[in-house]
């Protein structure tokens, strides 16, 4: 559970920093002045959506990190035999990078107010993401053909489970992306911009998450050094 603890520690640090900046040390019983609002000025509907997405990404991160925690705990046991990683995963990684880049370009286009370019880049991003999902399915088929199925071994099951959870998050993102794209012509420019920005942020998150998951699944970097560091004072 080292990874989960690291995540909780990081989130606690962020929360502490945020609270410190938002007057957690105030003495409200002494305040006799008028209504002073300590909130930042960007309290608009847009930022509610932004914070909502941020909270959602934190929850999704917790979900993925817990999966990884379970994975790394199971990996410690002696009989661990991970499946081979199909090379198509590298192509999929490139596709997801391209999707992320395309959505970044879509944001730039939306900021310029160029609806056509925004639409094209959204389409490119969605296409690349769809290919990514198909590529993941292909990786599954290759693994299964080689005899590594869900029931063969916990390591194989973890591979399927973790890629499936990530893939479902991509599909969910595609639904949101589709909705943003469907309003491409009708939406007010600031609403369009907001929608595209949120999609792009989510795609960057998906990319980061995939890189982390892929690195763990394919290369199994160990956090042993951290455990050793923490238990050293008692050893």
């Amino acid at each position: 559970m080292t990874a989960a603890l690291l995540l909780i520690g990081a989130l606690a640090a962020i929360a502490g920093w945020w609270l410190a900046r938002h007057g957690i040390a105030a003495k409200p019983w002494l305040e006799t002045g008028p209504a002073v609002d300590l909130r930042p000025d960007d309290a608009t509907a847009g930022s509610a959506a932004r914070i909502g997405l941020g909270v959602f990404m934190a929850v999704a991160t917790a979900l993925l990190v817990l999966l990884l925690s379970a994975y790394s705990m199971r990996r410690e046991l002696a009989d661990w035999s991970p499946p081979p990683q199909p090379p198509v995963l590298w192509a999929n990684t490139v596709l997801l990078v391209l999707a992320s880049l395309a959505l970044h370009r879509a944001v730039l286009a939306a900021r310029r107010g160029d609806r056509d370019a925004t639409g094209s880049w959204l389409l490119a991003g969605a296409g690349a993401s769809l290919l990514f999902v198909l590529g993941q399915l292909l990786a599954w088929r290759q693994l299964a053909a080689a005899g590594f199925v869900l029931t063969s071994n916990p390591a194989d099951a973890f591979f399927y489970l973790i890629t499936a959870v990530h893939g479902l998050h991509v599909l969910g993102g595609l639904v949101a992306l589709g909705r943003a794209g469907a309003r491409l012509r009708r939406a007010r420019l600031d609403a369009l911009r907001l929608g595209v920005e949120l999609c792009a942020a989510y795609w960057h998150f998906l990319l980061l998450a995939w890189l982390l998951l892929f690195a763990t699944l394919a290369f199994s970097p160990s956090l042993d050094w951290l455990i050793a560091l923490c238990t050293a004072p008692f050893g």
Binding site: D37, I51, T151
Partner: protein
């Protein structure tokens, strides 16, 4: 109201709070059933939680009948007993306490207390309730499938949870896990709303440190739940795969009736880590809203400002953070590196410090207060006593050496029922008696309320206090029948019978409470907008019960913290949060400094 703020206070322009676009209901269905109004959703959550809680109450009766009078009721055979235990625990912890505090109180109170018109994502909020209802229905369905509900114990430990010896192995466990996944999905939608509403939809002047402690408690608990429930989700999904597809996440190689199962290589301990990574924060997910609500009840009904507001807020946040690093104290007997045991025992004991700060602050709030022994106040006081009692036995159990012999005895059952069963339920009752007038415009009947309190409070002690002694004797939990043992004297059975009789009475008192809820709706005394003369914003709404959008044409402006009770130099003994300060130079500058 905004003119007064500027006029009195000088030229500090406060940020304008943008108006929300509210979905306006058309007709009966979208007003009362598929409503996107957080108040209606809160009531829906509460009623559903209470309804399923009644099922859990009946299950506890059945368990107590068996324990008190073993052999008398033939329909309570061991599998049925395990099913009752499992469903009672799961319903009470997840579907009643979590849903009622966060979904019920959270939905109703957060927007009102913050001066918002509604939650920021009303549609998602509505979806949250309907998915919760679906989760409850799936859970209830498991009573009617072949084999009945799962009897794996509320912790659902594998491998036994999905082995054929366990009741409900065919359908019950599957429905249980599906229901949990649904609950978590629904909760995440609601939780997203609560967090973003607190961060974004506070009205002008409602700084973080002017929020009532109720909101702080619910907010922090929601943040915790959003991070802790994924662990249960992961565990539930993995166990579902183990059960349905035959993966081996948690299932080691097993031989059953001479047959080797197809599983192999799984780690049951892995589930325990995931479960308790959720399970321990869950205790505080239930406790923190209770802490917050009880602070407000005590302050209001003792007519005193809360003692050490800042410390109270910090303690809530610190408890929330610490609760994520104590989970393995539920696993001392599962086998672990002794250093880990040392680590988790230490963190467990450290949590007692912020918790004790809260208890002292409640007592110091009461000290020299003008204590009104209203029904909400009685329940708040009952909470403090019960919580301290249950918390102290928690200190025993947090130590590895004490826990190992007491583990899986009735002592543990008594401990957690005191600290996270009875105590939070006391606050739920207190909260309902306190806010019922705002929800309905009528007071709950006082006499029935007092009977309800005394029977519940004394009864809870009569049930759970002796249970500690049973545990010290070594009476194990989860046993259908103790039978003949060398170390348990026959008198333990008499005590068990006594506990069972009291449990029946206490359960019946809850029916009186339900009757009161319905009766007062029609015949209760009219309450007026602010019967408790409280300061927080929900009591200052233009209508009671608050209308759609909560406030009139203008949002309220907050000028002070939530606890201006008995302010020196002010005629009224309370000053609402939205009342401006007198202009400088006028007489009453008597703010506590």
């Amino acid at each position: 109201m905004s003119e007064i703020a500027h006029g009195a206070g000088g030229p500090i322009p406060a940020a304008e709070v943008p108006e929300m676009e509210l979905p306006h209901p058309h007709g009966w269905w979208s007003t009362y059933v598929f409503s996107q109004d957080a108040k209606v959703i809160g009531i829906q959550y509460s009623l559903t939680a209470i309804a399923i809680g009644l099922v859990a109450l009946v299950l506890s009766w059945l368990m107590r009948l068996q324990l008190g009078f073993p052999g008398t009721f033939s329909f309570i055979d061991p599998p049925a007993y395990y099913q009752f235990i499992t469903m009672h625990g799961m319903i009470m912890v997840v579907y009643l306490l979590t849903a009622l505090f966060l979904g019920g109180f959270g939905n109703y109170l957060i927007p009102l207390m913050l001066g918002a018109r509604d939650m920021v994502f009303p549609f998602v909020n509505m979806l949250s309730y309907w998915i919760y209802l679906l989760a409850v229905l799936v859970l209830v369905a498991s009573f009617f499938v072949p084999g009945g509900p799962t009897g794996a114990g509320w912790t659902l430990y594998p491998p036994q949870a999905i082995l054929s010896g366990t009741p409900g192995r065919d359908w019950g466990i599957v429905l249980m896990l599906v229901s949990l996944c649904l609950f978590i999905a629904g909760f995440t939608m609601g939780g997203l709303n609560y967090v973003v509403t607190v961060l974004q939809a506070r009205t002008r002047g409602m700084t973080l440190m002017r929020m009532p402690l109720t909101v702080w408690g619910i907010f922090t608990a929601t943040v915790m739940a959003l991070l802790a429930f994924p662990a249960l989700f992961v565990g539930a999904v993995m166990m579902l795969l183990d059960r349905l597809i035959g993966t081996s996440f948690f299932m080691p190689m097993l031989v059953e009736f001479g047959q080797q199962l197809r599983h192999g290589g799984g780690s049951p301990i892995l589930f325990q880590h995931l479960f308790w990574f959720f399970g321990h924060p869950e205790v505080y997910i239930v406790a923190l809203p209770a802490f917050g609500i009880v602070s407000d009840l005590i302050s209001t009904h003792a007519r005193r400002n809360i003692f050490g507001y800042r410390m109270m807020v910090w303690a809530i946040v610190i408890i929330g953070a610490l609760s994520f690093v104590v989970w393995a104290h539920h696993m001392y007997v599962s086998g672990m590196n002794p250093y880990f045991g040392f680590f988790f025992a230490t963190t467990t004991l450290i949590i007692a410090i912020p918790t004790a700060i809260k208890v002292y602050n409640w007592l110091l709030t009461l000290w020299r207060g003008n204590i009104h022994l209203t029904v909400p106040m009685l329940f708040a006081l009952g909470f403090i006593v019960t919580f301290v009692n249950g918390g102290l036995t928690g200190l025993f159990l947090g130590n590895v050496v004490v826990d190992v012999p007491l583990s899986d005895t009735m002592f543990v059952v008594a401990h957690f029922h005191m600290v996270m069963g009875v105590a939070p339920v006391m606050v739920i009752f207190g909260g309902i008696y306190h806010w019922y007038p705002k929800v309905t415009g009528r007071m709950l009947d006082d006499t029935m309320g007092k009977i309800h309190f005394w029977v519940t409070f004394l009864g809870a002690y009569a049930i759970f206090f002796p249970m500690h002694y049973l545990g010290l004797l070594g009476v194990p939990r989860r046993y259908h029948e103790i039978g003949e043992t060398s170390f348990v004297p026959a008198s333990a059975q008499d005590l068990n019978a006594f506990i069972s009789v009291v449990a029946l009475v206490v359960g019946a008192a809850q029916l009186l409470f339900l009757f009161n809820l319905v009766w007062s709706l029609r015949y209760g005394r009219e309450s007026g907008p602010n019967p408790w003369r409280a300061t927080t914003l929900e009591w200052q709404t233009p209508q009671t019960p608050p209308g759609h959008g909560n406030w009139g044409p203008e949002l309220p402006v907050v000028h002070r913290w939530a606890y201006d009770y008995a302010v020196p130099g002010v005629a009224e003994d309370f000053v609402p949060q939205n009342q401006p300060h007198p202009a400088p130079g006028h007489a009453a500058q008597g703010h506590a400094t």
